[in-house]
C-alpha cells in the first residue's frame, strides 16, 4: 500500500489545497488578433487557448442548415504539453471524443437560430496538461465565444470533481486524476443551475455521487465568478478606450 497519499489526514491534498478548493485560475480574452474571439485560460498548470471564428459562411455546402448555424470544434493537444513528449494524431479518438463533448455542451447554449446558413468554428489548443483538460476547454470556449460576441443564453462553466480517498474533492490535478480516482466533469449554466454536460468514465458508488455532484456544482459557481470578472474587466477596459 505504498501508493501516494492523495489526501493527508490533516486534510491537505498533494499540492496543499483543501478538497473544496480550485486551483489558481488565470484568464484573459482577446489574445489573438486574427480570430473573431479568443481566450487563454489556466487552471493551475493546465493551460488552454481557445479561438473562435465566425459566424461565417459554411465551408461545406452539404452541412449547411438553413435555419441556424452549425458548430465545429477542433481540439489539439500540443506534443510538449505533458512531461513525456508525445505527438498525437489528428484522428486520435480521445481528442475527437473530447471535441464532440465540447460541441454538445454548447449546441443548446449558443443561440444558433440567429445565424442561419452559417458556421461557427471553435479551435482549442491544450498547451500544458495537468488534469482537467475538458473543464478547461469548456471554460475557455465560453470566454472565447463571448469575446467573439456570439449570442448565448448563459455562461457555461465546467468543473471536475472526484472521490479522493475518503472525501469529495474538486478540480483534480494530473496526479489525482491518474491514480484511479473516479472523476465527474459537469458543465453548468450558472444562472439557472441547469447542467448541460456530465461526463464520467469510471465507477463511482451511488452513495457518493450526490456529494461529488454538489461539490462540482459549487466549483462551477466559483468558476463563473472568475470568468465573469475577467469578461467584465475586459468590457470596462474596452469601454474606457472607446470613451477616450
Amino acid at each position: 500500500m505504498s501508493r501516494t497519499e492523495l489526501l493527508s489526514p490533516e486534510g491537505l491534498r498533494i499540492d496543499g489545497r483543501r478538497p473544496a478548493e480550485l486551483r489558481k485560475i488565470t484568464s484573459t480574452t482577446c489574445v489573438l488578433s486574427q480570430a473573431d474571439g479568443s481566450a487563454y485560460l489556466e487552471h493551475g498548470n493546465t493551460k488552454v487557448l481557445a479561438a473562435v471564428y465566425g459566424p461565417r459562411e459554411a465551408r461545406h455546402r452539404a452541412l449547411v442548415l438553413h435555419d441556424r448555424a452549425i458548430l465545429n470544434v477542433e481540439l489539439n493537444v500540443a506534443p510538449f504539453s505533458t512531461g513525456e513528449r508525445r505527438r498525437r494524431s489528428k484522428n486520435d479518438k480521445r481528442l475527437l471524443e473530447m471535441a464532440s463533448f465540447v460541441k454538445q455542451t454548447f449546441e443548446p447554449v449558443v443561440i444558433a437560430t440567429l445565424y442561419p446558413r452559417s458556421q461557427i468554428d471553435i479551435y482549442l489548443q491544450v498547451i500544458q496538461h495537468d488534469g482537467g483538460t475538458l473543464q478547461a476547454c469548456i471554460n475557455a470556449t465560453t470566454m472565447a465565444l463571448i469575446d467573439a460576441g456570439i449570442a448565448m443564453t448563459d455562461y457555461v462553466c465546467a468543473c471536475t470533481a472526484g472521490w479522493v480517498e475518503r472525501e469529495a474533492a474538486i478540480d483534480l490535478n494530473y496526479i489525482e486524476e491518474s491514480s484511479d480516482t473516479s472523476e465527474v466533469t459537469i458543465a453548468m449554466l450558472p444562472k439557472s443551475s441547469k447542467i448541460t454536460l456530465t461526463q464520467m468514465e469510471s465507477r463511482l458508488h451511488v452513495d457518493k455521487l450526490e456529494e461529488v455532484f454538489r461539490l462540482a456544482g459549487e466549483g462551477c459557481k466559483q468558476m463563473y465568478e472568475v470568468m465573469d470578472k475577467t469578461i467584465r474587466d475586459r468590457a470596462e477596459d474596452l469601454a474606457r478606450k472607446m470613451a477616450v
Binding site: 500500500m1 489526514p9 491537505l12 458508488h205
Partner: protein, 1025 residues
C-alpha cells in the same frame, strides 16, 4: 501563494522526464496550541502546559527530526513522551524511509492522549523554504526543521513566553547549527536520561557505534547496487529466508536455480551471515562439493556457546563450533560415496551463502532473558548487557542493554532488533515492554497471540458505532422483507458442536410432489449488518478470521452480531442468505437458486442430539423426519464425492476438558466425529461449490475463490519409501488414486496405522488458499482435497471475512438492481485481500495449535505419563514421535547428552556423542557398529515404528537450565531400549539417587519392566517436589 516544484524523474523504462508540480502555500495552518489567540483552530491538540524535563528550565514542546522516529520509535510510543510537533517534512521523510514506522507514527498521532500534532510546515507560508543551490535534500530538510522550530518559538513568545520549543535530534551538526540560530536542541539520550525512568531508558535503541577495535565475526554484506546487479546477472539468487524450526543455524530459500524451482540450504552461522528468518536475502551458491545430502539436524544443546561479553573467548568458540558443525556435516559426507552411488535419488541439495540482505523482516519478538547472562547482583540498577531468547526458536539470541535485568528475569518481555553489526555475534536490540510472569496462562496466551500477529484488542468505539442502534433488542421488521423470501414457516434447524454460540448455518428439507426434495442451506446474513467500507468492515477485513483458542475466542465481528443478531438461534426470526436446491433421489442437483430470506429456526441441535434423534425411532416430528432425509441425501453426496476422489485425511486433534473456574485443563480426549458432522459438512460443501460457480460466472475477474493445489511429488518421497517396507504403495498422481491407495493401506495387526498414514499424508499436502479468479488460470482453480473444479467459502460469514466478501458478490450476482462499489470488482484489491486473508488464516491456525500446545504443557505440568507413540519423522540426530492419545509430538534425541555441569570447564569439547547415526539409504537411524553385508543393524529407528515414550514437562520455567524458559515437552524413550538414549543423565542431575538408579539401569538393558518401575518412582518423586 503559489510555488512551482520542478524536478527530473527517471521512469521505469529509463526515460528522463521533467515533472512539474504545483505547491500552494497557505495562511490557514494553525499551531494547535490550546491558549493561542492568533490561530483559528477549533480543536487544539497541544496542551497549554507541555512536557517538563529537568534538562530545560521551561516546559516545552518537542520537535523531533526524522531519524528520531526511524531509530527510536519505541521511545516515542512511550506514554511519557507527549506534546510533540510532528513536522510534515519529517513525516514525509519517515514515510519514504520506512512504511511500517510511518504507520506507527500515524497510530501515535491518532491517539489523542499522546498529543502529537502534525504541522504542515511545507504548506505554511512562514515555514516553507526553497532548496538552495548546492544544498543536499537532507540539508534542506534539516533546515526546514530548524525554520519551523524557530517559527514556533517566535509564535509562542507572543502569547505565552513561559513555554518553549525544543528540537530533538541526534545529529551533532544539526544541533550546532540550531544553537547558532538561537534554538534549543537536545539528543534523545540526554532527554531520556534527564527524565530518569528506567523503563523508557531501556527502550532506547542502542546507538550504532561502530567499534573498529573489535574483530569482525561476519563477512561484510555487499552493497545494494552490487547485489541487484548480481541478481540480474544470475550470479546471486534472491529469496525469502526460512529458518528450520528444529535448528536455528539452518535455513533455506525457495527460488529458481538455473530455471528450475528448488530449495537452497544455508547452513551455519557464517553462511547465514546475520540473516534472520523472513528476510529477503541474496545468496551465492557454494561449489557442488560442499552440497549436502543429509536431512535436517537438530541443535541438541542450545547453549553451545558462552555469553557474548567474553568476546575473545567467543571468537575461539565460534571457530570451534564452526569446526564442530563441519565435523557433523563431514561425517555423513564421508559415508556418502557408497550410498550416493547406490541411490541415485539422493541428489545432493544445493547449499549457499548469504552475500547481502535485500530487505529485513525484523519485527518485535516475545521472549525472555537468559538468566545465565545476568551477572550483576540482585537489586542493582546499573545498565548491563544481557541475552534474550525469542519464543520463536528460529530467531537468534538478541543482545539487549537493560537496567532492570533482575525484575525482568522470569518474565515474558518484548524486544526489537536495532542492528546487527559485523563485530557482534548476536543482533543488538532493545527492550520494549514486559508482558507478565512466564508460565502464567494469560501471559502465555498473550505471547502466542502476539507471536502469531493476531489482533486481539477490544473493538474500538468507532467499530461498535456501526452496530444496529437497537442493540440486543433488534428484531426483524416488515421493511426487512423487501427483497427477501419468507421462509419462517419452514422447518429449519441447525446442527453445531456443543457450546456453539455463533451459529452461521441452518438446514431444511421439504419433499416435493414429484418425488424430489427441496433442500435449503441458510447462512447468517452478516452483510446486512456489515456494510462495505465502514470501520467495522475494515476491522473485520484486517482480522480476517475468528481465532479459536482452547479457552477463548478472538472474534472477527463484535459479539452482538456474532453470537446474537447474526447467529441463527432457534425460535427467533433471523435474516439469512439461502441456497435452495432441488435434489432428486440420488442427491443430484436438478436446479439451484439463491435468495436473501427471513427464517425462524425450529431447533438448534448439537451433533449428538441430532444423532440421537435419527437413531430414536420414537421421534417422528417434522424436524427429525427432515434430518433423516438430509442424512440419507448426505450419505449419497458423500459417496459420490469419494468416488470422484475426495480425500479423507486425518489430524491428531484433541479436545481439552477445562475446569470451570480456573480454566485449567483437567482431561484430554480425541475429537470424535459423528454421522451428523458429515451431514452438515456435505451440505456446506455443496453450497460452497454452487456459490463458487455462480460468482465466478458473474465476476470472472474478481470472484473470491479457494483452491488447493496438487502437492508436488517431492513431498511424498520419504513417505513412499517408508511404507514400501510394509509392501504398501502410494500413488499420488491424482487425488483419486491417492484416496484409493490410502483406503487400501491397512495393516491388520496395527489398527492405528491407517490413521497415522492419513495424518502423515495430510502433512504432505499444500495449503489451501484464497485467490482472486482473475489472477489464476482456470485449471488452477481445482481443489485437490475435495476433488472439485471450483470452490469457495460461503457458509461461515460470522467467523471468516472471505465468506463476507463472497456474500456480497453473490448478492450482486442475483440482484441486478443492486448498486455496489469496486470492492467486489477490483481485481487488485481482491488480490490484496486474498493475501491478507491467507496470512491471517495461517496465523490463526498456528495460534490455535500453539494454544493447544500451551494447554498440553499445563496438562502435563507435574505429571509424567507413559504412552505409546509412533515415529513420524527422522532427523539427522533425532526422531520425532507422535503420541496419538494426546495428539502431541516430541523430539527424542539420538545422541547422549553430556551433562552441562561437568563440561563448563571445557565448553568446546561438549560435543554430543551420537548413539544412532542416520542412514540415508534406508532413511532411518541405526546403531553405529560396523555391519557386514546384508546384516541388519542391532538397533534401528525407522518411520512408523511403534515406541513407548515417557512424557513430562521440562520444568525449566524460570530459566537457568538448558532450555531457558521455553516450555518444552520432554519425551524420553522407554521402548525399544537403546543404550545411551533411554538413559537421561540430565533429567535428574540434581538428584544423586536418581543418578545411581540410572547407572544401575544401564546394566539391565533390554529389561523393560524394571525400568518402567523406576521411572514411575522418579515421576512420583517429582510430583512431590
Amino acid at each position: 501563494m503559489l510555488r512551482q516544484k520542478a524536478f527530473m524523474k527517471k521512469t521505469k523504462s529509463g526515460k528522463v522526464l521533467k515533472v512539474v508540480k504545483e505547491h500552494y502555500l497557505r495562511d490557514d495552518i494553525w499551531c494547535s496550541i490550546e491558549t493561542c489567540k492568533v490561530c483559528e483552530h477549533t480543536e487544539s491538540v497541544l496542551s497549554t502546559v507541555p512536557s517538563i524535563n529537568k534538562a530545560f528550565s521551561l516546559p516545552h514542546y518537542i520537535i523531533p527530526d526524522t531519524n528520531i522516529f526511524i531509530n527510536q520509535i519505541d521511545v516515542m510510543e512511550h506514554a511519557l513522551i507527549t506534546n510533540v510537533i510532528v513536522l510534515q517534512t519529517v513525516l514525509e521523510e519517515v514515510k519514504h524511509l520506512s512504511l511500517p514506522i510511518y504507520n506507527r507514527v500515524r497510530d501515535i498521532i491518532a491517539n489523542k492522549e499522546k498529543r502529537f500534532y502534525v504541522f504542515s510546515n511545507e504548506h505554511h507560508r512562514g515555514t516553507f523554504i526553497e532548496k538552495l543551490k548546492d544544498e543536499s535534500p537532507n540539508d534542506r530538510n534539516d533546515r526546514a526543521i530548524r525554520v519551523a522550530t524557530k517559527w514556533y518559538g517566535n509564535h509562542i513568545k507572543d502569547f505565552n513566553p513561559r513555554v518553549s520549543v525544543v528540537m530533538m535530534t541526534d545529529d551533532v551538526g544539526n544541533r550546532d547549527k540550531a544553537t547558532a540560530d538561537g534554538l534549543q536542541s537536545i539528543s534523545v539520550k540526554w532527554y531520556i536520561e534527564a527524565l530518569g525512568n528506567a523503563e523508557i531508558l531501556d527502550m532506547m535503541s542502542s546507538a550504532k557505534d561502530l567499534d573498529d577495535g573489535q574483530k569482525s565475526i561476519y563477512d561484510e554484506h555487499l552493497s545494494p547496487a552490487h547485489v541487484s546487479n548480481g541478481i540480474k546477472s544470475g550470479k546471486y539468487l534472491q529469496g525469502k529466508l526460512g529458518i528450520s524450526s528444529h535448528n536455528y543455524l539452518e535455513g533455506s530459500i525457495y527460488t529458481k536455480i538455473n530455471g528450475e524451482e528448488g530449495t537452497i540450504l544455508i547452513v551455519g552461522r557464517s553462511n547465514l551471515n546475520r540473516a534472520v528468518d523472513g528476510d529477503i536475502i541474496a545468496v551465492e551458491l557454494l561449489p557442488k562439493s560442499e552440497w549436502r545430502t543429509t536431512p535436517t539436524g537438530v541443535v541438541v544443546d542450545e547453549d553451545e556457546e558462552q555469553a557474548e561479553e567474553e568476546s575473545l573467548k567467543a571468537e575461539q568458540e565460534a571457530a570451534a563450533s564452526a569446526a564442530k558443525e563441519d565435523a557433523v556435516m563431514a561425517e555423513p559426507e564421508a559415508e556418502k560415496p557408497a550410498s550416493a552411488e547406490g541411490h541415485k535419488l539422493d541428489t545432493p541439495q544445493p547449499c549457499g551463502k548469504v552475500v547481502g540482505i535485500i530487505r529485513r523482516n525484523w519485527r518485535q519478538y516475545c521472549g525472555f532473558i537468559d538468566r545465565k547472562s545476568v551477572h550483576t547482583p540482585a537489586g542493582s540498577s546499573a545498565p548491563v548487557n544481557v541475552l534474550f531468547y525469542a519464543m520463536e526458536s528460529k530467531i537468534p539470541k538478541i543482545k539487549i542493554r537493560t537496567r532492570q535485568a533482575h525484575t525482568l528475569l522470569g518474565k515474558r518481555i518484548i524486544v526489537a532488533i536495532d542492528s546487527w553489526p559485523r563485530t557482534s555475534r548476536y543482533p543488538i536490540g532493545h527492550f520494549i515492554r514486559a508482558l507478565g510472569e512466564a508460565g502464567d496462562k494469560s501471559t502465555e496466551t498473550e505471547v502466542l497471540l502476539l507471536e502469531h500477529d493476531v489482533p486481539f484488542h477490544e473493538f474500538s468505539k468507532q467499530v461498535l458505532s456501526f452496530l444496529p442502534v437497537e442493540g440486543e433488542n433488534w428484531v426483524v421488521k416488515p421493511e426487512h422483507f423487501a427483497g427477501r423470501e419468507d421462509f419462517r414457516s419452514l422447518n429449519v434447524c441447525s446442527i453445531d458442536p456443543p457450546g456453539c454460540t455463533d451459529i452461521d448455518d441452518a438446514l431444511h428439507v421439504v419433499p416435493l410432489p414429484n418425488g424430489n426434495y427441496q433442500v435449503g442451506v441458510h447462512i447468517a446474513d452478516v452483510t446486512h449488518f456489515v456494510k462495505p467500507g465502514n470501520v467495522m468492515d475494515q476491522e473485520a477485513a484486517s482480522r480476517g478470521t475468528t481465532v479459536y483458542l482452547v479457552d477463548k475466542r478472538i472474534d472477527m465481528l463484535p459479539s452482538l452480531l456474532g453470537t446474537n443478531l447474526c447467529s441463527l438461534r432457534s425460535n427467533v426470526e433471523r435474516l439469512a442468505f439461502s441456497c435452495i436446491w432441488e435434489l432428486n433421489d440420488a442427491a443430484e442437483i436438478v436446479s439451484v437458486r439463491f435468495t436473501k430470506s427471513v427464517i425462524a429456526s425450529k431447533a438448534s441441535l448439537t451433533y449428538e442430539e441430532a444423532q440421537n434423534r435419527i437413531d430414536d425411532a420414537n421421534m417422528q416430528d417434522d424436524v427429525t423426519a427432515g434430518i433423516r432425509i438430509l442424512n440419507m441425501l448426505a450419505k449419497k453426496l458423500k459417496q459420490r464425492r469419494l468416488d470422484m476422489g475426495a480425500l479423507t485425511l486425518a489430524s491428531p486433534e484433541v479436545r481439552f476438558s477445562l475446569e470451570r473456574d480456573t480454566q485449567d485443563p483437567v482431561d484430554v480426549e480425541m475429537k470424535e466425529l459423528k454421522e451428523t458432522n458429515a451431514l452438515v459438512e456435505e451440505f456446506m460443501l455443496l453450497a460452497n461449490i454452487s456459490v463458487g460457480r455462480k460468482i465466478y460466472e458473474k465476476f470472472p475477474d474478481s470472484a473470491m475463490l479457494r483452491c488447493h493445489p496438487q502437492p508436488p511429488s517431492a513431498n511424498f518421497e520419504k513417505l513412499e519409501k517408508a511404507v514400501a517396507r510394509f509392501g504398501i504403495e502410494i500413488d499420488h498422481s491424482t487425488s483419486k488414486t491417492l484416496s484409493d491407495s490410502l483406503d487400501n493401506a491397512v495393516l491388520p495387526d496395527e489398527p492405528y496405522f491407517n490413521k497415522l498414514l492419513r495424518i502423515m499424508t495430510t502433512r504432505c499436502m499444500m495449503q489451501a488458499l484464497y485467490f482472486c479468479s482473475g489472477a489464476q488460470i482456470e485449471q488452477e482453480f481445482r481443489h485437490y482435497g475435495l476433488a472439485t473444479d471450483i470452490y469457495t467459502h460461503f457458509t461461515s460469514p460470522i467467523r471468516r471475512y472471505s465468506d463476507v466478501m463472497v456474500h456480497r458478490q453473490l448478492h450482486a450476482a442475483i440482484d441486478s438492481s443492486l448498486s455496489y462499489g469496486d470492492e467486489i470488482t477490483d481485481k487488485e484489491k481482491m488480490n490484496d485481500l486474498c493475501g491478507n486473508l491467507n496470512h491471517r488464516n495461517r496465523m490463526a491456525q498456528q495460534a490455535a495449535r500453539s494454544s493447544v500446545e500451551l494447554f498440553t504443557h499445563l496438562f502435563f505440568k507435574n505429571k509424567t505419563e507413559e504412552e505409546e507413540g509412533y515415529v513420524i519423522r527422522i532427523l539427522k540426530n533425532a526422531f520425532i514421535v507422535l503420541v496419538p492419545k494426546y495428539g502431541i509430538e516430541g523430539i527424542v534425541y539420538a545422541s547422549a547428552k553430556v551433562p552441562k555441569t561437568d563440561s563448563t570447564a571445557e565448553a568446546g569439547s561438549a560435543a554430543p556423542q551420537p548413539i544412532l547415526v542416520y542412514n540415508p539409504e534406508t532413511d532411518c537411524l541405526q546403531s553405529t557398529e560396523t555391519l557386514a553385508e546384508g546384516e541388519t543393524p542391532k538397533t534401528q529407528v525407522q518411520l512408523f515404528q511403534k515406541v513407548m515414550v515417557q512424557i513430562s514437562i521440562d520444568d525449566d520455567l524460570k530459566g537457568g537450565g538448558e532450555g531457558g524458559m521455553r516450555q518444552k515437552l520432554k519425551m524420553e524413550l522407554l521402548k525399544p531400549w537403546i543404550e545411551g538414549i533411554s538413559v537421561h543423565g540430565t533429567a535428574n542431575k540434581d538428584d544423586p539417587e536418581a543418578h545411581a538408579v540410572t547407572s544401575t539401569k544401564s546394566n539391565n538393558k533390554r529389561e523393560d519392566a524394571p525400568v518402567k518401575a523406576q521411572d514411575k518412582k522418579r515421576a512420583s518423586k517429582r510430583t512431590k517436589a
